[in-house]
Point group: C2
Chain length 175, copies 2
DNA sequence: CTGTCAAATGCAACTTGTTGCATAAGGCTA
DNA sequence: TAGCCTTATGCAACAAGTTGCATTTGACAG
């Protein structure tokens, strides 16, 4: 259901095509949700089938046609219903932690590589966050509550990632 | 693949039945991996089919039979292969963040309820962590590296959860 | 002039995870 | 004595996510 909800949210803010949404996923929405183009196109078509979206095909010369999706009244209602009901907790799945539980069989070199690569990923993520913050939230005091909300999510993402980095570095140092 | 890996790890430490593993999942492994009994039984049977596990049926009077699974050599090898190769990054999926992106349509009351329930979950998680810490890691200095590793995962879990709690409280206060 | 990238869409097969239901016997509680 | 909990296993249908492949045109690099 959650992919649906995310699509309802982005299309409610602004109608668009599968490709558009993919770009949004790569930009600011990247720390909220990620999905492949296959998944998007399939889900959009299903949502249209379920009456949550309308689809308008804009023919283009020199390019494949664009299919612009837009919320219907049923779509807006579905979104409101989803917002109103509390989220269920998602199951814990931490493959990295699993490796820690097999410490004896985990070769030292592989371990080091894993930690290094992982820290690099985390630091790249921090760079991305910083870029988003600069571009969209340069002065947080002037934001409206609705604009402030996504800023909060970014702040948390940053703090969590920092916590991860500290931890990996501690583990690496000790190892 | 990761569920497989987790099963290989737990069964390598000690052979057991699907039900046993389910209990381990509820106890110390709960902050690493969670899965339903249906998933476990199905996966165990497939792994046996793939030659990673052997299965011995212990008949019990007055109870359904127990099927004790144990790693084969191929199973140990599969585990080592998995440990040696670096983990791929898992896609971001944060339904709560998604709601923040629909702030205007998210009714205040639903928001408050969500935050309160969420904070409660986080605090319960912290309680669980504390219990695990008391039971298994009461004096960390005396641990061997292999015992120390899962303790690290617990520490990170704790810190991340604390970060979440701080954040939710900030957001609640501001809202 | 060949290859790759970007724009734009999609199908098909597969794996993974969820939900609902089922069985069977003993113990415990109202 | 009826109903639920625990032990112990599973099937079947479905939903969600992944992987591999395919199409069309223009632009740009080597």
């Amino acid at each position: 259901m959650s992919l649906r909800a995310v699509l309802l949210i982005t299309l409610q803010r602004e109608p668009g095509t599968g490709y558009d949404i993919l770009q949004r996923f790569k930009a600011g929405l990247a720390h909220v949700w990620q999905a492949s183009h296959q998944q998007l196109y399939r889900e959009l078509d299903r949502m249209r089938g379920d009456g949550l979206l309308t689809c308008e095909t804009l023919p283009q010369t020199e390019r494949p046609d664009r299919k612009v999706y837009q919320l219907t009244e049923a779509g807006r209602q579905a979104l409101d219903t989803w917002l109103a009901e509390p989220l269920s907790t998602s199951p814990v799945r931490q493959p990295l932690f699993a490796k820690f539980f097999a410490w004896e069989r985990w070769p030292e070199e592989a371990r080091r590589k894993e930690f290094t690569a992982f820290r690099k990923q985390l630091q790249e993520r921090l760079t991305t966050y910083a870029a988003i913050e600069r571009e969209w939230f340069s002065n947080p005091e002037t934001l409206t509550p609705a604009q402030r909300a996504p800023w909060h999510t970014l702040r948390l993402g940053k703090r969590l990632t920092e916590t991860w980095v500290e931890w990996v570095e501690e583990v690496m140092e000790e190892d």
